[in-house]
């Protein structure tokens, strides 16, 4: 028993979990202080968030739906970080994935069993190219991936915006693309919901009916599968060994006969595929089309936060994504409930990340010093 407690203490204090939990708590504390200063009752505001998350099954379903793309962009960032790369480009890879999925979903005619995988594969491949390009630029010309991926984000944004102006793809004048075909959708019971039986079911079953009022889709399952895939690749395969070796110490990897440049490209390709899948599933499960974007939507950038909070692991990203999704969705309610600005949630999230990142920063500085000395 004492041994067990000792063990838990060890994991909590020395491992990343303690740091994360403390940071999350501190994030809420700082958010509360800000609310107080702004003249709102933080307890009321937080209760409103909690109600906004838990009081109806539909709300919880929405939290999952919000979380799904964030988990996957989080995985994208986490995968790259674990291999020593900072993929700021999950945003652009998400956009490319969404665009290609929307096109494949609209133009290609296939039975559902084929259409869905074809859409996802095409979207993931296109996003892989987008990510891999940044990897190639780094490997070939030594340009840091942060710089190249930021540029690629903008190119992706304008490419996507341009695509909806095409006559064949965009509904003229609306700034939106045509909706994808039913066979390319991953909604659960999407068509059935609007049949009489479906409407009946929603009316008569309080719990499941309520959940069905949200755009439930299979995305979360994909997200969890991808988290597993990431863990498997990194920890169980020879490829993962290579990528991690390069991430930790490219000099030693090179010495051991690993092709460092190829690893960088491969890692960015996989990272891009994760973000692209996120974009594809967002289109196939929720929006069913893409629209002209005035600015970045932030899925990829939020993925950075998710990855950091999740300690760059697969399972961590799943939980962090759900936390983030809950805060985003629940937080949108406090405006109505207590009149406090929704931005408070951004402060909470920002603070959490700050606290999580700071010990890492300090550790990183120490390690850099050690390596030199």
């Amino acid at each position: 028993m004492t041994l067990n407690r000792e063990y838990l203490k060890e994991v909590f204090l020395k491992g990343p979990l303690g740091l994360t939990v403390i940071s999350v708590v501190l994030g809420f504390v700082v958010g509360a202080v800000v609310l107080l200063i702004a003249g709102f009752n933080p307890i009321e505001a937080y209760m409103a968030i909690l109600r906004g998350i838990f009081s109806k099954p539909k709300y919880m379903s929405y939290v999952i739906i919000y979380a799904t793309p964030l988990i996957m962009t989080g995985l994208s960032v986490a995968f790259a970080l674990r291999t020593g790369l900072f993929n700021i480009g999950a945003e652009g890879q998400f956009i490319v994935g969404a665009m290609v999925a929307a096109m494949a979903g609209y133009f290609i005619h296939l039975p559902m069993l084929l259409h869905v995988p074809v859409c996802i594969l095409l979207a993931a491949s296109a996003a892989s190219v987008w990510g891999g390009l940044a990897g190639y630029i780094k490997a070939r010309f030594g340009v840091h991936e942060v710089i190249s991926t930021i540029m690629l984000n903008w190119i992706a944004l304008y490419l996507s915006n341009w695509s909806v102006t095409l006559k064949s793809f965009g509904k003229q004048g609306t700034g939106k693309s045509y909706v994808i075909q039913e066979t390319a959708r991953v909604d659960l019971f999407g068509q059935w919901k609007i049949t009489e039986a479906g409407i009946d079911f929603i009316r008569s079953h309080r719990f499941w009916g309520d959940i069905l009022k949200s755009p439930v889709n299979v995305g979360i399952i994909f997200a969890i599968i991808l988290a597993f895939v990431m863990w498997y690749i990194l920890n169980k395969t020879t490829l993962g060994y290579e990528l991690r070796a390069v991430g930790y110490n490219p000099h030693a990897a090179e010495y051991g006969g690993i092709n460092v440049n190829r690893s960088i490209i491969t890692s960015m390709v996989i990272s891009g595929a994760f973000a692209g899948t996120a974009g594809a599933l967002q289109v196939m499960g929720v929006s069913h089309r893409i629209a002209k974007l005035a600015a970045m939507e932030g899925y990829g950038f939020d993925g950075i936060a998710v990855s950091l909070i999740g300690n760059n692991t697969g399972i961590g990203s799943v939980f962090a994504g759900v936390l983030f999704g809950a805060l985003k969705y629940g937080g949108s309610k406090i405006q109505d409930a207590v009149g406090a600005p929704t931005e408070v949630i951004n402060i909470v999230v920002g603070t959490i990340i700050l606290f999580i990142a700071m010990p890492k920063l300090i550790r990183m500085i120490l390690q850099a010093r050690n390596k030199k000395g």
């Binding site: 060994y241 991690r244 990897a253």
Partner: protein, 510 residues
């Protein structure tokens, strides 16, 4: 002997015990250092030397025991108290702010101010210049740290302690990072310091240096005080066996063995360094099976570039290197390892040789993770990976015996054993060993040398690169002297004359 004032005990540490949890790092250690004395602390890696000095410097509180400075009991609660009492410490890892100048670093936390709290840099600079003049510590007070050599950075650290009025200087493994010339300069500095009545405690495991500079030597083994001896009264062998706890032989035992077939042939090789200057400049060399060929030379004469070219880590500009008549220049490291049978113990083991975050088992497969031995298709075969690790840990006596331990948790000697284990397990035809004993203590050095001889006895060819001439002469069968990127002479190790080789290393002709 230096001018020691035996009536004045500068430092007395009495029955000092320091525990970390259940682990006793220092177990009743006694240490007395007089004014004007150089006192060496000798012990293997992990013996507890740094811990003891950290107690003296106030970084750690002793669990038991007492510290007296200049005869007065003193409880050193933190380094500030130590500094006030004239104790200065130069740590194993320097604590300098790289983008700052020498002066800024030295006065950091101790700034003399003019009116309105302005820092008086001019005054500090002239004081520092005077100090460095007085003790022969050549540094430019205006130079920026990151532009300085390691030796110069160390002099800055020494100046920093002197600037703060240190009478007792602790130097933690000061020579580990220095070139032979810099070591001689340091010896001179130490003599200057003791002449002025300062006391020096120097941690090292190089016995030669102890003989050269120290008056007394205290030996620590596994946290215990083994002995304190007058250095003049003992031999290097005595010191070594006290330190390791068994007889240590410096002579490398090896029977004569006929030279085998030629395995490596280097012809007119030219390799540029990172600045594009040819560091290896038309080098010719042959290596035969069953021999250890030592390359003697002063650091910076193309050794690093030669090894990197032979292992695929650096392109060759022109010329050839042939293994069994097949060209290996400009192949990838992977090809050279897998297809041409070259293994390599790298010069910079932390940068090249291992991955800190990987555990021992993962580090042991760095070159072979994708071979049949450790993988099935795309997946790693962890059962075999850990079995391999357990076997090598046993065979090469890597401690602690825990294959799941991260490499960064190992001592330098054990990290090196891990690398050697991996490279030898590759069963190479050619083993390139670059500075394989740098920073290791005598016990570990003996071990490494045995491992190299063992390879040679099995008919492998060993190419040894070392800046320690003793090592080259002791271990090799033949010695090639490198100077400015060329081999300037090859000598049979039997007829080796240290003076003659030294002259060739410096560019003179024999």
């Amino acid at each position: 002997m230096n001018s020691i004032d035996f009536s004045h005990k500068a430092v007395e540490m009495v029955d000092v015990v320091k525990k970390f949890g259940d682990f006793t790092a220092n177990d009743r250690i006694n240490l007395t250092v007089h004014k004007g004395e150089v006192h060496a602390l000798l012990g293997e890696n992990g013996a507890g030397k740094t811990t003891l000095m950290n107690v003296l410097y106030g970084l750690y509180q002793p669990t038991e025991g007492a510290v007296r400075i200049n005869g007065k009991p003193l409880s050193v609660k933190d380094p500030n108290v130590a500094i006030k009492n004239g104790i200065g410490m130069v740590h194993q890892h320097f604590m300098l702010v790289e983008p700052f100048t020498v002066t800024q670093n030295i006065i950091l936390g101790n700034e003399t101010t003019k009116m309105l709290g302005m820092i008086d840099i001019k005054k500090a600079e002239s004081e520092i210049a005077a100090l460095s003049e007085r003790y022969g510590l050549a540094v430019d007070p205006k130079a920026v740290i990151q532009d300085l050599s390691v030796g110069a950075q160390q002099r800055v650290e020494i100046l920093k302690t002197l600037y703060r009025g240190a009478q007792i200087l602790i130097l933690d493994e000061p020579t580990a990072v220095l070139t032979p010339q810099e070591i001689q300069e340091l010896v001179g500095i130490i003599h200057n310091l003791t002449r002025e009545g300062k006391s020096i405690i120097i941690i090292t495991h190089k016995l030669k240096e102890i003989k050269q500079v120290a008056d007394f030597c205290t030996i620590i083994r596994r946290g215990k005080h083994i002995d304190t001896v007058e250095v003049d009264q003992v031999t290097e062998e005595d010191l070594a066996s006290k330190m390791v706890g068994r007889e240590v032989s410096f002579k490398v035992e090896k029977d004569p063995q006929p030279q085998g077939d030629r395995i490596l042939e280097i012809r007119d090789l030219v390799v540029e360094d990172s600045r594009g200057i040819p560091a290896v400049n038309g080098l010719n060399l042959d290596l035969y099976k069953g021999e250890i060929l030592g390359i003697a030379g002063v650091d910076g004469n193309g050794q690093t570039e030669l090894i990197e070219a032979l292992t695929g880590l650096r392109p060759a500009k022109s010329g050839q290197a042939l293994v069994r008549e097949k060209e290996i220049t400009n192949l990838t490291p992977g090809k050279i390892i897998q297809q041409h049978g070259i293994s390599h113990i790298p010069e910079d083991r932390q940068k090249r040789g291992l991955i800190f975050e990987f555990d021992i088992a993962e580090n042991l497969i760095l070159e072979n993770y994708a071979t049949e031995a450790f993988s099935k298709g795309f997946t790693l075969d962890f059962k075999r990976i850990y079995r391999n690790a357990d076997q090598l840990i046993e065979k090469f006596d890597i401690r602690p015996q825990n294959s799941k331990l991260a490499a960064k948790a190992l001592s330098g000697g054990n990290q090196q054993k891990m690398i050697i284990a991996r490279e030898v397990a590759n069963d190479p035809d050619i083993l390139i060993a670059a500075q394989p004993t740098r920073g290791l203590d005598v016990g570990a050095i003996e071990y490494v040398h045995k491992a190299l001889v063992d390879q040679r006895n099995q008919g492998k060819a060993v190419l040894l690169i070392s800046f320690e001439l003793d090592e080259v002469i002791n271990v090799s069968d033949r010695i090639a002297v490198i100077y400015e990127g060329k081999i300037v002479g090859i000598i049979d190790a039997h007829d080796a004359d240290e003076k003659e080789i030294g002259l060739m290393m410096a560019g003179g002709t024999a």
